[in-house]
Amino acid sequence: MAAVMLSGISKRYGDTAAVLPLDLSVRDGEFLTLLGPSGCGKTTTLRMIAGFVAPSTGHIAVAGDDITGLPPQRRNMGMVFQDYSLFPHLTIADNIAFALVERRVPAAQRAQRVKELLELIRLPHIAGRFPSELSGGQQQRVALARALAHTPRVLLMDEPFGALDAKLRETMQEELRAIQTSLRITTIFVTHDQAEAMRMSDRIAVMNQGRIEQLDAPRTVYDLPRTRFVADFVGKINFVDATVVRRCGDGVEVDSLGLRFALAAANTAAAGDRVTLAIRPERLYLAPVDEVAPADALSIEGAIEHIAFLGNVMHTEVRATDGTRLLVESQPADWTVGARLRVRFRPTDASVLTEAA
């Protein structure tokens, strides 16, 4: 178990850049997720850490040792592949013991370790079976056990739950997180599923076009997205144009939606700059036109354009008086299309995106 440090790592294929130079520091024992759409460079980054892809520039260090030039077999990492990649000609016990055989562990110790791991993944009775005799979820667990057998310094996972159905995926996510927490093994996990990333990670690195756009705890990524891409990729969000009136302390005062209000802002926007505010649909509230708003809330008048009932929640599209369209997520209520109402929000629930509007 160890910290992983990427410095200036990049990958070019001919004229196309798969990964632009990036720095990433994964803490010892941390569960870090590389999240992004396909082609964002997350898998290439993982494969560079595993040693299957040689970086064009930069260095990779594990626990302070530079491993950039080491072949995969000498990196002492465990990897779980998207398609599990269990060896079809070997029994489950032999699959799990594969790395131990390479390390010349005596047979008795191997058997003991395989037994431990099969208990860890709660499948003690399948040692003698072949991968083709297992279900997808079982193969997934065996792949995890195989990757952990040689107590690797780092666990790498490339979209491991992509092939499982939604229910099973949730169970596996919880199990993996429990195992990871109990072993305290540094884990780098690749996925395009933002809910999966939220559920499991200590921190999420959101990637786009070969760059890390934001690296933060799941809560921060969700509540305070820094770029339009991050805000849009992780959950649903409203973008609202605003003009900075002046800076005040740690934040800015903005003119937006025909209102003037102050909010925190990490960026350096100055008076007169046009910026984009982002606010989650569940942070907006629908209220009757004449209802009095609480002191800390702002509101804007509008009319309902569209309603979608999704079971536990309702999505309402409101066109505000200034023409801005807002998506509101709320408990199902008896609103009808065309109704006039007020959309209410707290300025503290909005965030200012760092990039220029």
Binding site: Q73, G78, F98, E102
Partner: protein, 284 residues
């Protein structure tokens, strides 16, 4: 409207059966009748041909030579073919398909032309021999004509392209991610091939080897042209018995023995492969 497809397939089936079973029947029956000279066969059913064959070391030596030569050549072909097929299957370069096309085209070239090529390569004053003589690696020019080694090279040349194409498709069925998994778990390239690629390719290698073996067992042209009457494999012997000696009965008997030997080797190998697969929990 559904066309009666099975009925369209009947004529080719009948034709194939007539050609296969018919010809087999003719020589199977011929093998049980004595030769009376100039191509005539006796009326009576007899096992005399078989008795003669198994009593005469000349025929037995020829059978043994054919089996040995085919087995050794097949092993050589596999040893050469497996790495070539593996590299072709894993090649990412755009030259991969070109190289494969070259090999496919090579398999279409008649063995007569290939033997001509071999003769040029091994000519007494040819490039290869001159080079080896200059380097002092040989004292006499190498020749292939009339030599068992020469026939083996000819057979290798004959079967290699087929075997490479077969093995190529075998290698394609092994996912690259299995190699990465093995390496990730600490296996060097060599260990990865030993523990993953070879075991997974083994049933395919055996099947390809069988096809190569069958091609060798039945190969006439390369054995006749390179052997130059000195290397008498069964196919060459059958041709001589039938054409030169006009002993149709004995020729048929030799053919039956060749067929049965080949069949036995094939059955044994298939049994081996299905055991191998059964041991892996796969259905054979």
């Amino acid at each position: 409207m559904t066309l009666p497809w099975p009925r369209f397939l009947l004529p080719p089936l009948v034709l194939s059966l007539a050609l296969l079973v018919g010809s087999m029947y003719v020589f199977l029956k011929g093998s049980f009748h004595a030769d009376l000279g100039v191509g005539r066969l006796g009326e009576a059913f007899t096992l005399a041909n078989y008795r003669k064959l198994f009593a005469d070391s000349f025929y037995l030596n020829s059978l043994w030579l054919t089996v040995q030569l085919s087995a050794v050549t097949t092993l050589l072909t596999i040893v050469v073919g497996v790495p070539v097929a593996y590299v072709l299957a894993r090649m990412r370069s755009r030259w991969g398909p070109v190289l494969l096309a070259v090999i496919v085209a090579a398999s279409f070239v008649t063995i007569v032309i290939k033997v001509l090529g071999l003769n040029i390569i091994f000519a007494a004053n040819g490039g290869l021999n001159r080079l080896l003589l200059e380097l002092g690696m040989i004292a006499q020019p190498l020749t292939i004509a009339g030599k068992v080694e020469g026939v083996a090279i000819g057979l290798l040349y004959f079967t290699l392209a087929f075997i490479v194409i077969l093995l190529y498709s075998v290698m394609l069925t092994i996912p690259r991610s299995l190699e990465e998994a093995a390496q990730n778990l600490g296996a060097s390239r060599w260990r990865m091939h030993w523990r993953v690629i070879l075991p997974l390719a083994l049933p395919g290698i055996i099947a390809s080897g069988l096809i190569g073996f069958n091609l060798c067992m039945g190969a006439f042209t390369s054995a006749a042209l390179i052997g130059a009457g000195k290397i008498l494999t069964l196919p060459v012997l059958i041709q001589r018995t039938v054409i030169f000696d006009t002993k149709y009965g004995m020729g048929a008997t030799l053919a039956v023995v060749l067929l049965v030997t080949g069949l036995a080797v094939n059955l044994l190998s298939i049994l081996l492969v299905s055991r191998l697969n059964a041991a892996r929990g796969m259905t054979a």
